[in-house]
């Protein structure tokens, strides 16, 4: 039972994190194409706020406050009582609403379709962008070779 819950939590963390990080330009076309507009009620309307980001001294020591980032959040409930939360980076209320709806639908029978048509393609796009940057970084890696070694 606990394992099941943990797996469910891990999966939810994965899609919520993906939605939070996703560029709006990448998420919205995929979501709009789903053409899904389930009835819902707001529990908390979309609101823009700040989160204080923390770092650690020396990367691993005591925490300190680094500066804020913008976050938009909202919560809603579907007709069947399923609650969805959206917490996304930036100031787009449209994106937060989509994220909360997707979060709710991912807990329903619609999960398979959403995963196949929104989450998976979105994850692929974001991974491709990341890999392209990593490839450019790799090309700037220094390969040292010894010119002359002093003999003694």
């Amino acid at each position: 039972m606990t394992d099941q819950t943990n797996i469910a939590v891990a999966k939810r963390q994965e899609w919520m994190g993906l939605l939070a990080r996703a560029p709006e330009d990448a998420l919205m076309p995929l979501w709009d194409e789903m053409n899904t507009s389930p009835g819902f009620e707001w529990l908390r309307r979309p609101e823009v706020g700040g989160v204080m980001v923390r770092g650690r001294i020396g990367g691993s020591g005591a925490p300190f406050n680094l500066g804020e980032m913008t976050v938009t959040r909202c919560s809603l409930v579907l007709g069947d009582g399923t609650v969805g939360h959206g917490h996304v980076q930036g100031r787009s209320k449209r994106k937060a609403e989509a994220a909360a709806l997707i979060d709710a639908l991912m807990q329903t029978k619609a999960a398979g379709a959403i995963r196949a048509r929104v989450l998976n393609p979105l994850a692929q796009q974001m991974q491709a962008t990341k890999t392209a940057r990593a490839a450019k970084a790799a090309a700037t890696k220094v390969e040292f070779f010894t010119l002359v070694r002093g003999e003694d």
Binding site: L43, R44, R45, S75, V77, D80, G81, V83
Partner: protein, 191 residues
């Protein structure tokens, strides 16, 4: 619609609702003895509407809240956390505390501020069965002449006032009505 969850009952239109509530809270604190009614949210039992509106308006992740007595219930904790993000704490560290007078006491466990920062003190939201402009006589800043307010414990509140500029401030709530008593108000028992 099955919209009733641990997350419902918040402000429907947060900026406007909170602004009205803040105006009411500010008015009663500035004019001890005044009673105002507020609306905009439906907190879970046993919180009154007025106490719920005050918590929603005044609390955020930077304010520590102490739920005294029966208010320390699952439903209240979840509701408060979702809508305000306020961390829960015990009486000695609280910025805000809510409960009946009996549940909140004794008064001397709350923060009263420091001479450099008298504002680092607790504000108590006292749930009352009754709230009337009768009873002990109030004088001081914000009161033209005298005012009267039904107070739960005159002696304890006089002691608090004697700490001025330190001390706690109070809201009294009953249903959807609220009144307030800042530390600067002088209290005289009737007669």
């Amino acid at each position: 619609m099955a919209a009733h969850t641990q997350f419902s009952g918040g402000f429907q239109n947060a900026p406007v609702d909170a602004a009205h509530a803040f105006r009411a809270a500010m008015t009663v604190m500035a004019r001890p003895g005044e009673i105002r009614s507020v609306s905009g949210c439906q907190p879970p039992a046993p919180l009154s509407v007025a106490a719920g509106v005050l918590l929603m308006t005044l609390c955020d992740p930077d304010t520590k809240v102490h739920l005294a007595g029966a208010t320390n219930a699952d439903a209240v904790r979840q509701w408060l956390t979702f809508h305000t993000g306020a961390p829960l704490t015990d009486a000695t560290e609280a910025d805000f505390a809510v409960g009946t007078w009996q549940a909140l006491g004794p008064l001397n466990q709350y923060r009263v501020g420091t001479p450099e920062y008298p504002d680092r003190s607790a504000t108590l939201i006292v749930e009352c069965d009754d709230l009337q402009q009768t009873g002990p006589k109030l004088t001081g800043p914000g009161i033209k002449g005298t005012a009267h307010l039904s107070l739960p414990d005159v002696r304890a509140l006089q002691t608090n006032a004697s700490l001025y500029p330190l001390g706690c401030d109070f809201f009294f709530t009953c249903g959807d009505t609220l009144a307030a008593l800042p530390r600067s108000t002088q209290i005289k028992d009737r007669g």
